[in-house]
C-alpha cells in the first residue's frame, strides 16, 4: 500500500475513534448496571479496529449496513454520539426518533442505514444500494458488515453471487468473532477461513487481522478502490473477538477463560497504544487528553439524552411507510 495514505494525523484520528467506540460501549454497560438502560444490548468491545478501519475508508455518499451489534459501527461512521445515546434512551432526539433502539443504530442521511438485527439482513440491502450506485453512475460504494453467523445463511451466497456477476460496487465485510451467539464457527463450517469462499463467486477474498486497525484500513482501501473502479465486490474476513457475551444476558460460558484472556492481549486499542508509544507518535499526555475529551463528549450525550422528550404517541406510525 501507499504509506503516505496513513499519515500520522490519520493514525491518531483512528486511535481516537477506537477509543470513543470503546468508551461508548463501556458507558452503555455501566448505564445498564445502574438500571438506566435496558439489557437487550449486544456489545462490541474488542472489535473497534474493524469498525474504525472500515469506516475510515468510506466517503460521503457511501452507504454502510450493520448488524445486531451496531453501536461501534455507528460511532465509527460518525453518527453523532448524542443521537446514538438518545436512541438508546428511547428519546425522540435519537437517530431513529427513539423508536429503534440498540439494534437499529444508524441514519441513512449520514451514510449508515439503521442497522438490521436479522442475521444477514444487511447483505441484500447493501447490494441493492450498490446496484443503484452503478445504475445511476454514482461514484459511491456500499459496505456491509455481518458476522460469522451470517455466512451460512442462504442470503449470503445468493447476494454475493449476484453482486459478483453484476460487478457491483460493494464490499462484504465479515467480522469473524468466532462465535455465532454461542456456536463456534468451526462447528458449522468445514473450510478454514471464510474468505476462501470468495473463490466460489470469482471475487477476491482476504483474511485480515481484525484487531490491527491499520491492516483493516489497508485491506478496506484496496477493496473500496476496486469497487469504485467498477471491478466488483470483495469479501473481507476480519478476525476479531468480542470481549463480552453475545448479549447482556449471556455470560459467554462456552468460551474458556484462557481463550478470552488470550484475545484480551490482542486488544486493538492497547496494541495501537503499545506500538505508537514506542514509536513516539503517541504520548501519555495525548492519551490523557484524548480520553478527557471523550469523557466530556459522552457525559454531554447522556445529559442530552436524559433531557430529551419521549416520542409522542401520535408519531407512532410516522416513518413506518414511505409516502
Amino acid at each position: 500500500m501507499n504509506p503516505s495514505l496513513l499519515t500520522p494525523e490519520r493514525k491518531l484520528a483512528m486511535y481516537q475513534r477506537m477509543a470513543l467506540c470503546r468508551a461508548f460501549e463501556d458507558l452503555v454497560n455501566s448505564l445498564f448496571l445502574q438500571g438506566r438502560m435496558p439489557g437487550t444490548i449486544h456489545q462490541a468491545q474488542g472489535q473497534e479496529a474493524c469498525a474504525v478501519g472500515v469506516c475510515e475508508v468510506l466517503r460521503e455518499g457511501d452507504m454502510l449496513t450493520s448488524t445486531h451489534r451496531p453501536h461501534e459501527h455507528a460511532v465509527a461512521r460518525g453518527i453523532p454520539v448524542k443521537a446514538l445515546m438518545a436512541e438508546l434512551f428511547a428519546k425522540s432526539t435519537g437517530c431513529c426518533h427513539g423508536k429503534g433502539g440498540s439494534m437499529h443504530m444508524g441514519d441513512a442521511a449520514l451514510g449508515m442505514l439503521p442497522a438490521i438485527a436479522i442475521v444477514g439482513g444487511g447483505i441484500p440491502l447493501a447490494t441493492g444500494y450498490a446496484l443503484s450506485f452503478k445504475y445511476f453512475k454514482k461514484p459511491n460504494i456500499a459496505a456491509c458488515f455481518f458476522g460469522d453467523g451470517a455466512v451460512n445463511e442462504g442470503i449470503f451466497h445468493e447476494t454475493v453471487n449476484m453482486a459478483a456477476i453484476w460487478e457491483l460496487p460493494v464490499v462484504f465485510i465479515c467480522e469473524n468473532n468466532k462465535y455465532g451467539a454461542s456456536t463456534s464457527i468451526h462447528s458449522v463450517m468445514k473450510v478454514e477461513t471464510i474468505s476462501e469462499r470468495a473463490a466460489a463467486y470469482g471475487i477476491p477474498g482476504r483474511t485480515v487481522d481484525g484487531n490491527d486497525v491499520e491492516a483493516v484500513y489497508e485491506a478496506m482501501l484496496q477493496a473500496a478502490e476496486r469497487a469504485r473502479a467498477g471491478h466488483g465486490p470483495t469479501l473481507l474476513e476480519l478476525e476479531t473477538y468480542r470481549f463480552a457475551g453475545h448479549s447482556r444476558s449471556d455470560p459467554g460460558g462456552y468460551r474458556s477463560k484462557e481463550e478470552v484472556a488470550e484475545w484480551k492481549k490482542k486488544d486493538p486499542i492497547l496494541r495501537f497504544e503499545a506500538k505508537y508509544l514506542a514509536e513516539g507518535l503517541l504520548t501519555g499526555e495525548i492519551i490523557t487528553r484524548c480520553k478527557a475529551g471523550i469523557d466530556r463528549e459522552l457525559s454531554d450525550a447522556v445529559k442530552f439524552a436524559e433531557a430529551s422528550p419521549n416520542p409522542l404517541p401520535e408519531e407512532c406510525l410516522a416513518d413506518v411507510y414511505s409516502e
Partner: protein
C-alpha cells in the same frame, strides 16, 4: 458518597434472578468493573460487575434469595468509613424510562408478569422499573403515615428531593383509596353480574363430577419442568389441552344452541375464564389440542396477560368457543361447579391436585387426583354425553405420554 447497586435486568424471559454468592465481603474495597456477586438468571449463572468503585458497606439481598430486577441489592461508599443513609432508595440515579426492549415502558406488555404478580415490584412494572427515590427523612415518615408511595411523588426540593409538603400535597390530590368503591371496579362487577344472572336464569345447568387420576401427568410434568425451569408447564396447560382433545372426541358437546337452532361447531376451541380481581375475562384459545404443549403454555401465558391488560384477542368475535374452562385449583379449591358463560354449552371447573390414598392389588398407593366438574346446558348435552366427555378427558390425561411425545 453513597452508591446503590441494583440487580440489573439480566434475564431473557423473566425479570428476576437468584443471588447465588457475594464475591466481596462487607467492608471490602472493589474497583470499577470488578465482579461483585454471582447471580443465576433463567438462562445462566453470571457475574455482576460494579459500575463504580468503592467499599461494600451493606448487602441488601442475601445469598439464595430471588430478587426482582432493578431492586437495590447493595450499598457502596467512596470511602471506607463514611456514614451513609442505610435506606436503599436515596441515591444519585435518575433512571431512564426505558424498558427491556428499549421502548418506553408505559404500555409495555410483560408476557411473563402473570407469573410474577406476587412480587412487590410487579405492581410498578407498568410504569417502568421502580425508581429509587430521594426523599427527606421527614417526608418518608409522613409518607408512611399517609400510605403514600414515594415513587409517585414529584419532589420540589434540591435536586428533586421529596419534601414533607410534597407528600402532603400528593396525598390530598390522589384518588380515593381502594375500598371506597372505584368506578372501574363497579363496571367490572356489573358486567359479571349481568352475565351470571343471564346464564343461570335462562340456561338449564346440570353437573357431572369426576376425580381424574393425574399421577402420570404430574410425574411427566415434574420431570419436564425440572429440565426446563424457565418454561414451566402448569396443570392448567395440560388440562386445557386434554380438554380440547376430549372435545374433539365428543362432537355432541361441541354444539351451540341459540334461538331454537342447534349448530355443530367444527373446531375444538375452548374459552378460558381468567380472574381479574375483581371480575372475569373470557379468553378464546383456538384449537389448543393442535398445538404442542410448550407452545400452548407460552400462548396461554401471553394471551391471558394481554387480556388482563385489556387487549382482548378478537379471534372469534361473537362466534365464541362452546367449551369454557375455569380453574381454581391453584387456590387449593378441591372442586366447584361453574356457571356456563353466555354463548357456551358447557364449562369445565378444575380443582386442586391432591393426594388420595387408594388400594391397588392389595397395596396402598398414592394417586394424584384432580376433581373436575362439567357444568352443561341440558338443552344440548345429556348426562351420558357429559359422562363420555369426562371419560375421554380421563383417557387423554392418562395416556399422558402422547402429550409428552411432542413436547
Amino acid at each position: 458518597m453513597k452508591h446503590t447497586i441494583i440487580l440489573p435486568d439480566l434475564g431473557q424471559t423473566t425479570s428476576e434472578a437468584k443471588i447465588v454468592k457475594w464475591l466481596k465481603a462487607v467492608g471490602e474495597r472493589l474497583s470499577i468493573g470488578e465482579a461483585l456477586l454471582e447471580v443465576e438468571t433463567d438462562k445462566a449463572t453470571m457475574d455482576v460487575e460494579a459500575y463504580v468503585g468503592g467499599y461494600l458497606r451493606k448487602i441488601l439481598a442475601r445469598e439464595g434469595v430471588m430478587a426482582p430486577a432493578m431492586s437495590p441489592i447493595a450499598i457502596l461508599t467512596d470511602t471506607a468509613d463514611e456514614t451513609f443513609d442505610e435506606e436503599a432508595g436515596a441515591h444519585n440515579l435518575t433512571p431512564g424510562n426505558v424498558g427491556r426492549d428499549g421502548a418506553p415502558t408505559a404500555d409495555l406488555p410483560h408476557a411473563s408478569s402473570a407469573s410474577r404478580s406476587a412480587e412487590p415490584f410487579a405492581e410498578k412494572s407498568k410504569e417502568g422499573p421502580p425508581r429509587p427515590v430521594a426523599a427527606a427523612p421527614a417526608a418518608r415518615q409522613r409518607a408512611k403515615e399517609l400510605s403514600v408511595d414515594l415513587s409517585q411523588v414529584t419532589g420540589t426540593g434540591p435536586n428533586g428531593l421529596i419534601t414533607k409538603s410534597d407528600v402532603e400535597r400528593f396525598a390530598k390530590q390522589r384518588e380515593p383509596a381502594p375500598g371506597s368503591g372505584q368506578a372501574a371496579d363497579v363496571k367490572l362487577l356489573a358486567a359479571m353480574a349481568s352475565f351470571a344472572s343471564a346464564s343461570k336464569s335462562t340456561v338449564p345447568h346440570f353437573y357431572a363430577t369426576a376425580d381424574l387420576d393425574v399421577s402420570g401427568m404430574e410425574e411427566w410434568r415434574r420431570g419436564r419442568n425440572a429440565l426446563h425451569p424457565a418454561f414451566r408447564i402448569s396443570v392448567n396447560d395440560c388440562l386445557v389441552r386434554a380438554s380440547a382433545q376430549a372435545l374433539a372426541d365428543s362432537p355432541r358437546v361441541n354444539v351451540g344452541f341459540a334461538d331454537g337452532r342447534y349448530v355443530q361447531r367444527a373446531t375444538s376451541d375452548v374459552l378460558l375464564v381468567v380472574g381479574r380481581d375483581p371480575g372475569l375475562i373470557l379468553v378464546p384459545l383456538p384449537a389448543p389440542h393442535a398445538i404442542a404443549l410448550p407452545e400452548l403454555a407460552r400462548r396461554i401465558r401471553v394471551t391471558v396477560e394481554a387480556a388482563r391488560q385489556g387487549r382482548m384477542p378478537s379471534a372469534f368475535g361473537t362466534d365464541s368457543p362452546l367449551l369454557a374452562i375455569s380453574n381454581l385449583g391453584m387456590f387449593g379449591v378441591r372442586e366447584f361447579a361453574a356457571i356456563i358463560p353466555p354463548g357456551c354449552t358447557a364449562i369445565l371447573a378444575i380443582g386442586a391436585v391432591r393426594d388420595q390414598a387408594a388400594l391397588k392389588n392389595g397395596q396402598l398407593i398414592n394417586v394424584k387426583t384432580c376433581g373436575v366438574t362439567l357444568s352443561a346446558d341440558h338443552r344440548v348435552v345429556d348426562g351420558i354425553t357429559a359422562a363420555r366427555f369426562l371419560e375421554r378427558l380421563q383417557f387423554h390425561v392418562k395416556t399422558y405420554e402422547s402429550l409428552a411425545a411432542d413436547a
